[in-house]
């Protein structure tokens, strides 16, 4: 099974995908970027509070991976999940309203930035315990296998989850039971402020696939088409009943761990190098190189997204707070 890193796969995808598809990928990436920039602004204005972890810089991973899924495939994510949720189809309104803590939010104001959820999109939640989503992904995979359904689970987690027992237990179990799970590790080199080489003995994280007898591949997480190509192959494999895969997407967050983190453990030079590899700008210039006529459409998208984000903020701002008498509702299903 060819899941080896292969630049040519990405190149081919560029050719295979038509203008509509490339445009859609770009739209999703721009949506996430603009959304996160607006979230930062709203956070500094005090409209959003609590922990808030921005995804800017990593857009290519969520968008490339989720574009390879069907609408019925499941996504499990972390506390840095605005991007995954938007890429899976959530409206900017519902996510922004959740960040504002409003009743109209995607989790009805109960979850906040770290706990987005939408059963209709099969976005099965952001979880704020390092590695906490991996066992759940294995379980969802088990439910799919049990019901003999064609879906797959795409499970996102960071490099910080690698040393957790949950990672190793889940990969072992998923491989042992041949579960349809695609494990996507977003390696942004820092678990909070700790560099990956100070946390994991094997810093080439995709190599953990081998002991768990599954294909492993490292892709450029700043290249949406490379991510798309690799995850498409892994999804096909899972859907055919050939079991799980591990994909390491090497990426970089453009901001600190959370809104309260100025990121002083990273050098300005390092940040500049990665800023130059900005996945959104890079993809834009790639598309235009291949499809010169598309540029006007991309500009339209940028304008449209601006309006979508402004509308989301207005919606979130005007939405009602959850009623106080709902405090004790939904602790249990069976009261």
């Amino acid at each position: 099974m060819a899941l080896e890193r292969d630049r040519h796969t990405a190149q081919r995808a560029l050719v295979t995908l038509g203008e509509t598809e490339l445009t859609e990928l770009y739209r999703r990436m721009v949506l996430i970027r603009h959304f996160e920039e607006k979230v930062a602004e709203m956070y500094s204005r005090g409209k959003i509070t609590g922990f808030c972890h921005l995804y800017a810089g990593e857009e290519a991973v969520a968008v490339g991976a989720i574009y390879s899924l069907s609408s019925k495939d499941y996504v499990i994510s972390t506390y840095r999940e605005h991007g995954h949720c938007l890429a899976k189809g959530a409206s900017a309104r519902s996510v922004m309203a959740e960040l504002f803590g409003k009743a109209t939010g995607i989790s009805h104001g109960r979850g906040g930035s770290m706990h987005l959820f939408d059963p209709n999109l099969r976005f099965m939640g952001g979880y704020a315990i390092g590695g906490g989503g991996l066992p759940l992904a294995a379980g969802l995979g088990l439910s799919i296998a049990y019901k003999e359904e064609p879906e797959v689970v795409c499970c996102f987690f960071g490099d910080g989850a690698l040393p957790q027992g949950a990672f190793h237990e889940s990969l072992n179990m998923a491989s042992l039971w041949n579960l349809p799970v695609v494990f996507v590790c977003e390696n942004n080199f820092y678990g909070m402020g700790t560099m990956v080489q100070n946390a994991v003995c094997q810093e080439e994280l995709y190599r953990f696939a081998e002991p768990y007898k599954m294909p492993g591949v490292r892709v450029d997480g700043m290249d949406v088409l490379e991510v798309y190509a690799a995850v498409t192959a892994a999804v096909a494999r899972a859907r055919e009943g050939d079991g799980p895969s591990l994909i390491e997407a090497v990426t970089y967050r453009f901001r600190g761990h959370s809104m309260s983190d100025p990121g002083e453990y990273r050098s300005k030079r390092e940040e500049r190098i990665w800023q130059e590899r900005d996945p959104v700008k890079r993809f834009r210039s790639e598309i235009i190189t291949e499809h010169r006529a598309i540029e006007a459409r991309l500009e339209e998208i940028e304008k449209e997204i601006g309006a979508v984000i402004d509308d989301a903020v207005r919606f979130a701002d005007e939405s009602p707070e959850p009623a106080l008498d709902t405090l004790m509702k939904d602790v249990y299903v069976d009261e």
Partner: protein, 350 residues
């Protein structure tokens, strides 16, 4: 005088019931607590295709305490699934499977190992329905044996119901009798919330009357096993038998004890307890968890809050001493709650 402790409590329970109900009934089969659980599992596997069992040694070994014995042969590996020793992910995969529309019954070999699964149980199972705005549910049953009394030492003798009682979002079920073991497990499997189902290792061999076929025991309904007017002994799990033995011993001293088996700690049937305390004016809470911060502390607090004016004496707590369980037989016995302690407490309250 109190007779020496029996290794397995016999049916003081049946005696208590017979004295109350003289009507002639068809004989109900006497089966073991573990067989009652097995029957519940079998019936629910048969009833609902979504139900499956997962855990360490539940299949080929038949369960470390033989609760799942014979089920693999009938239902196959898909529905009776042996797992690797990975408690965190056994629980987590069960939760994920429940979110995916199945009804998993996860067996943790003992509650002591279950501590490795606490992140998935407390941070995930207990929270998912609420923190996602009621849009997700986790209909999982997590079964685990617990309790001391077998010289298994500090890491294999714990009663940890209080840990789960402390987490909103979890139901905590803790049956004492074979009939309740069956009826509560069947109810647990049919409900939509995560249920922590705690079995006492000393109870697997006890026998009792268990209705064949459909037998459901509702959550949140305590069982008054023995009526009395002088003191209320509130208990659950194995300590219920100690409470009944103490009540029998107290007859000699003309102290008429009422014994209540709570059966579920969440939901808690405070009403039955308070009604009893209003009648007796005295309460003893007996439980095998550690005394400090135990479930009995919560029950005592709720009695004070709700029935303070009806109390003629402070609520007494009989529980395991605050110590890691020692191996030595005499030390272990001294650490665990005893019939003698209950009797003494009742005498002091009277």
């Amino acid at each position: 005088m109190i007779s020496p402790r029996r290794s397995f409590p016999r049916l003081s329970l049946t005696r208590a019931r017979c004295s109350k109900n003289e009507a002639i009934q068809l004989p109900v089969p006497q089966i073991q607590y573990r067989e009652a659980l097995n029957q519940a599992l079998r019936e629910e596997l048969e009833r609902d295709e979504r139900v499956f069992i997962m855990g360490e040694e539940v299949g080929y070994f038949g369960g470390a305490f033989k609760v799942t014995d014979g089920l693999l042969a009938i239902y196959g590996e898909k529905r009776v699934r042996d797992t690797p020793i990975s408690e965190l992910t056994i629980a987590g995969a069960g939760i994920g499977a429940a979110m995916g529309g199945l009804k998993p019954i996860v067996e943790l070999m003992t509650i002591n190992f279950g501590l490795l699964a606490m992140d998935q149980i407390v941070n995930h199972a207990a929270k998912i329905h609420y923190m996602f705005g009621g849009q997700a549910k986790v209909p999982i049953v997590i079964r685990a044996p617990q309790g001391g009394g077998h010289q298994l030492g500090a890491q294999h003798s714990q009663s940890l119901e209080a840990y789960f009682l402390h987490s909103p979002g979890l139901r905590v079920v803790i049956p004492a009798t074979p009939a309740d073991a069956k009826g509560l497990l069947k109810t647990a499997i049919r409900r939509e919330d995560p249920v922590i189902f705690l079995e006492h290792e000393s109870l697997y061999g006890i026998k009792g009357e268990v209705p064949a076929g459909e037998h459901l025991v509702p959550f949140g309904v305590a069982n008054v096993l023995r009526e009395g007017k002088d003191v209320t002994i509130v208990s659950y799990s194995k300590c219920v038998y100690d409470a009944l033995d103490a009540a029998t011993a107290l007859e000699n001293e003309e102290i008429d004890a009422e014994v209540i088996d709570l059966r579920t700690l969440n939901p808690l049937d405070l009403k039955t307890v308070v009604e009893s305390v209003k009648k007796t004016g005295r309460a003893i809470v007996v439980y095998e968890g550690w005394r400090t911060g135990g479930a009995g502390a919560e029950i005592a607090a709720q009695i004070y809050e709700t029935a303070f004016d009806h109390l003629d004496a402070p609520v007494a707590r009989i529980a395991t001493r605050d110590v890691p369980m020692p191996y030595n037989k005499h030390l272990e016995k001294a650490a665990l709650p005893s019939v003698a302690e209950i009797v003494k407490a009742a005498e002091q309250l009277a």
